[in-house]
């Protein structure tokens, strides 16, 4: 009983990522993706209307006597099943969002459609960010658009000092990582996990930066690359602010850009012109093919196999 629209929808179920532009709320992104998916699914050419036999009267004479009325059978389409009467087949599609991105930031945003939403809960992997900072000012919300609280000089800052501060930060975060993993550090189990790289915090914990380094330094501006877990974008802007404080100056964050979310990279992200049903379908198919062995996609893979049968 699957109509062509339902078949199109089945091909759309899964995970994919989009590139969220800065200045846009993530809900707007989710809504526009849902609207374009609905458009794509509802415009699949549907089956022709079912027909039924009705008996239409043919009036032979106009004498008005009931005897003259004859009836002929005619096949007439059933208008109560017409899309203009029943409405579109799909009136909403469940599109879920993975880790949120606030309006100031931009970058890779993972979205799930239909059954793919179940896999969104299992994305417990690190994320990569690129933070752009600028020395010299401090604002109330740590970004360059906030209200300026103080201004300082920054001539004394050098690359080595910055690297020292970053190393200190990384050390503190490493300690936090070990603490939150809730494994006894002296056991064999901990050693084996550390060897395989599975040592990580259990469940929701404080944000932890697993890696932080400076990729560009040109005072007053600098760029950091950060790998983290359980973070929020405001926390990352605060990190930039604190780095400024550690260097006995001040810094604001000019941009937060997520370059990777788990196994979704910038390369797979769809830009705004590609938020159409066909492009999203292509991205989802590509994602399921490429992620052969990842645990994240176990549930998705099962659905995929069922659908292709």
């Amino acid at each position: 009983m699957a109509t062509p629209a339902i078949r199109t929808f089945r091909r759309l179920e899964g995970l994919f990522c989009v590139y969220k532009p800065p200045g846009v709320h993530w809900k707007l992104v989710r809504d526009s993706v849902e609207t374009s998916l609905l458009k794509g699914v509802n415009t699949t050419p549907s089956r022709p209307l079912p027909r039924e036999i009705r008996f239409l009267p043919l009036q032979g004479n106009e004498t008005g006597t009931a005897k003259e009325i004859t009836v002929s059978a005619a096949s007439v389409p059933v208008l109560s099943k017409h899309p203009l009467v029943t409405g579109p087949e799909f009136q909403n599609i469940k599109v879920g969002v993975g880790h949120h991105l606030d309006a100031f930031s931009s970058g890779v945003l993972v979205l799930g459609v239909g059954n793919g939403n179940k896999a969104l809960n299992n994305l417990h992997q690190t994320r990569d960010y690129t933070l752009e900072g600028e020395f010299g000012t401090a604002t109330d919300d740590f970004s360059h658009k906030g209200r300026v609280v103080e201004t300082t000089t920054y001539d004394h800052i050098t690359q080595e000092k910055l690297d020292k501060v970053l190393a200190m930060l990384q050390g503190a975060n490493q300690k936090a990582l070990l603490m939150y993993s809730r494994v006894d550090m002296r056991s064999q189990e901990a050693y084996e996990m550390a060897v395989q790289g599975l040592l990580g915090p259990e469940g929701k914990s404080l944000p932890i930066l697993t890696d932080i380094r400076c990729i560009h330094f040109q005072p007053p501006s600098f760029t950091l690359e950060v790998q983290c877990l359980n973070e929020t974008q405001k926390y990352l802007r605060k990190i930039v602010h604190e780095i400024g404080l550690e260097l006995r100056s001040t810094a604001v964050c000019k941009g937060v850009r997520r370059t990777r979310d788990g196994c979704f990279t910038l390369q797979d992200a769809l830009t705004r012109n590609h938020w159409t049903a066909t492009d999203i379908m292509g991205a989802i198919q590509q994602q399921t093919c490429s992620s052969g062995n990842t645990d994240v996609f176990v549930s998705r893979k099962q659905d995929f196999h069922q659908d292709t049968n």
Binding site: F55, L56, I69, L79
Partner: protein, 421 residues
């Protein structure tokens, strides 16, 4: 045709209270109804005049067991009995539906539901009756007295099926309160047809009827004299007939407004913007919904242009004659675009006024393209210098043409750049 046919029907039995008579165009196969209580006249015309309770069933007195037919059942019967044009000698099959007696809404009849145990024996289904009697039997159709959706009535109602064939989106209309019942009460011949003919006379194309009725179903309840007087008024203001036709097809609510209101608005645009009569006609013809909406947002937009943007009166006039949509645009978005153009791209007022279509485009589009050009070192918007890029080319070209001609880069590069913002 349909009403005369319906009036000629004489039903021998008491119909169940669920009968609602519509102007039915076709009827289903007859079913045999019992009782010998005497004929009750079906009055189809009375239904149309009864505007109070279109959904309420009619009480027909003490009811008896009535046999209902369904269309599908008819089909199977037809195939089995090889039904042809000749009505004599048909097979009657009685379908008992005791629930039908309970389905009515009127409380009075509920008291009268009682199994009449000493009823006279019913006629056998296989008894042959004359053609007269066969034709007088009519089956009450299984239409619910009240429903949240029009799809249950569309097959039986001539008005609704004709509207669907015109392309009216009934599903959208039934979501609006009271519109569904209003449409059901309309009669196609007397209400809908004269107005559609009137629209055709003005010059509106047939393919637009569906769009117009979907957006403004109340055009079917507006009186013809009013519609004609408003068209006459517009023509008296020197709008040509094609212009009036295009205005009505693009702004379906236009003809529902009184002449006084239309006059008020035309006067407002002429005075506030100090436009000449022909210019006012021009902008109203291109954006007819200026005459339909409220004037408050327009006044606020004008204030924003004057005070926040610091545009002079003649500059505002020029912008509005070129892009009338600025009058109904969202204030915040307009301010955002103007802010970006003036402060970030450093474009002077006179250039913005020269290319007013930038105020009509999307902010993200302007931002991405400008930053791309800046990255390539080509962001030069001053006509006095070389390699000048005009604002209209920046904004109105599609992506591919923009990349190849203006930015001299590939489309993929542009997408890659978008991912670095």
């Amino acid at each position: 045709m349909a009403s005369s046919f319906a009036q000629s029907l004489r039903c021998r039995s008491h119909l169940c209270s669920k009968t609602v008579t519509f102007t039915i165009q076709y009827f289903t196969q007859f079913r045999h109804c019992t009782t010998r209580r005497g004929p009750v006249a079906l009055n189809a015309a009375s239904f149309i005049n009864d505007n109070n309770t279109p959904y309420q069933p009619r009480e027909r007195g003490k009811q008896q067991k009535c046999y209902y037919s369904t269309v599908k059942h008819v089909e199977s019967e037809v195939k089995e009995s090889k039904y042809s044009k000749d009505l004599s000698g048909m097979d009657f099959v009685s379908v008992k539906s005791p629930l039908s007696q309970i389905r009515d809404v009127m409380p009075v009849t509920e008291n009268q539901i009682s199994l009449n145990l000493d009823v006279t024996p019913e006629l056998s289904a296989l008894e042959e009756i004359s053609d007269d009697e066969a034709i007088t039997i009519s089956v009450p159709s299984a239409i619910p007295p009240a429903s949240t959706s029009l799809k249950e009535y569309v097959d039986q109602s001539e008005t609704l099926s004709k509207l669907v064939q015109l392309g009216v989106n009934l599903w959208k209309l039934e979501q609006r309160p009271n519109v569904g019942s209003m449409l059901l009460r309309l009669d196609f011949e007397t209400d809908v047809v004269p107005r559609l003919l009137f629209l055709k006379d003005i010059g509106v194309e047939d393919s637009r009827f569906g769009y117009i009725i979907t957006h403004n179903p109340f055009i079917l309840t507006e009186s013809l004299e009013n519609l004609q007087s408003r068209v006459k008024y517009l023509k008296s203001k020197k709008f040509s007939s094609e212009t009036v036709a295009s205005m009505v097809s693009r702004a379906p609510y236009l003809l529902n407004f009184s002449v006084k209101r239309l006059d008020n608005r035309l006067g407002f645009y002429q005075q506030e913007l100090s436009l000449s009569v022909s210019n006012t006609r021009n902008i109203v013809a291109r954006l007819p919904r200026l005459l339909c909406g409220s004037l408050e947002p327009v006044k606020e937009n004008l204030k924003v242009c004057e005070i926040e943007f610091g545009l002079k009166k003649n500059e505002i006039q020029h912008i509005i004659i070129a892009v009338p949509k600025v009058l109904t645009a969202n204030k915040k978005k307009l301010t955002q675009i103007f802010n970006f153009l003036h402060n970030t791209m450093n474009i002077p007022h006179r250039l913005i006024v020269k290319f007013p279509q930038v105020l009509n485009s999307k902010y993200l589009r302007i931002r991405e393209r400008h930053l791309f050009l800046q990255y390539l070192g080509k962001a030069q918007y001053d006509p006095a210098q070389s390699n000048y890029i005009s604002l209209d080319r920046l904004v109105s070209l599609p992506d591919e043409t923009f990349c190849t001609e203006v930015a001299l880069a590939t489309l993929d590069d542009f997408y890659l750049f978008q991912k670095t913002l």
